[in-house]
């Protein structure tokens, strides 16, 4: 990591802490920051994500929405990590945000208002993990198909369960 990267990370850390104060999120937030493999990792409460991303985009030039995905921790409560990655073309550094959501209400705010490219990636994350992105008006299946039941990348989805769209023949022997 370059010096400028470390310096940006320090400023981001300070700013996000201040942001929590002013939005009075500090009480609910489980907020921590670390640097992992040259990426600043910020662990926040779900409600703090949207203001934090707005600050990253507007004040630190994190102008590329790289990805949103999730991690399923069966047996843990809250069960899911939702993980976002952002890149700053100005500072050439990446930041990762994580928020924990429970299986009973796996909802976080959609970032489609900040990044247009979030729309499809949130649809994919909704397909695979069932995370609900409040504010994304179009959460139809994007990689899966209409009628698919369940979320295949959740750990409790049986790996051999198939949901065919056409009747399957019995195995082979050809003809």
């Amino acid at each position: 990591m370059t010096n400028s990267g470390a310096e940006v990370f320090d400023r981001v850390r300070t700013r996000l802490a201040a942001k929590e104060e002013e939005e009075s999120l500090a009480g609910t937030a489980r907020s921590s920051t670390t640097v992992s493999h040259g990426i600043l990792v910020v662990d926040l409460a779900p409600a703090a994500v949207e203001p934090a991303v707005r600050a990253l985009r507007d004040e630190f030039g994190f102008d590329v929405f790289l990805d949103v995905t999730a991690v399923d921790w069966p047996g843990r409560e809250p069960r899911f990590d939702v993980v976002w990655h952002f890149y700053s073309t100005q500072h050439k550094v990446r930041v990762r945000l994580k928020a924990r959501v429970p299986a009973s209400n796996p909802a976080v705010a959609s970032l489609t208002g900040l990044y247009g490219s979030a729309a499809f990636m949130e649809r994919e994350c909704h397909d695979m993990y069932g995370i609900v992105f409040t504010g994304n008006a179009d959460l139809r299946p994007i990689l899966l198909y209409e009628g698919f039941v369940g979320h295949p990348l959740r750990k409790d989805y049986p790996k051999e369960r198939e949901q065919p769209l056409v009747p399957l023949r019995d195995g082979n022997p050809g003809r």
Binding site: Q163, L165, V166, G171
Partner: protein
Amino acid sequence: MNARTIPIQPAGGGKSQAFEYLTTRKDELVGWARKFSIFPYPFVTACCAMEFMAVSSTPYDTDRFGAALPRFSPRQSDLLMVVGTISHKQAPILVKVWEQMCEPKWAMAFGACATSGGFYQNYAAVPGIDRLVPVDVYIPGCPPRPEMVIDGIMRLQDKIANSRHLIVNKDF
């Protein structure tokens, strides 16, 4: 390659060296014609496509077996070459293509994924295209060597040459 060859007999008791007529069996003649004019429909979905390109062009050249001219309409093709992984989302498309092909038609499973699902066992992949369409020849490998593909085509040619070829069937 094929033990049964078309017997060609000069007519006219040897008076002329020219072949004035030939005698053979209908199935052998039709099979001989069909086995050298396999127009493939390449249903190419995944990385096996690279191997398909290698085998269909020089120096391996499936045109030597009459099987190089890809028809991009299923209505003009004889051989459905399924090259790559088929997902459950694609399965209806594959079945529709197969049903649009006119008889006589054959299907080839090219590579491990088309044969059995390969290393996929999950919500997305169909475990072998024989769950969707009847398959005549399977080519294993991830991806198959060009020699294996050519061997598969030659085995399919044998199968065509040794089948019954009904001129009039129940549908026509």
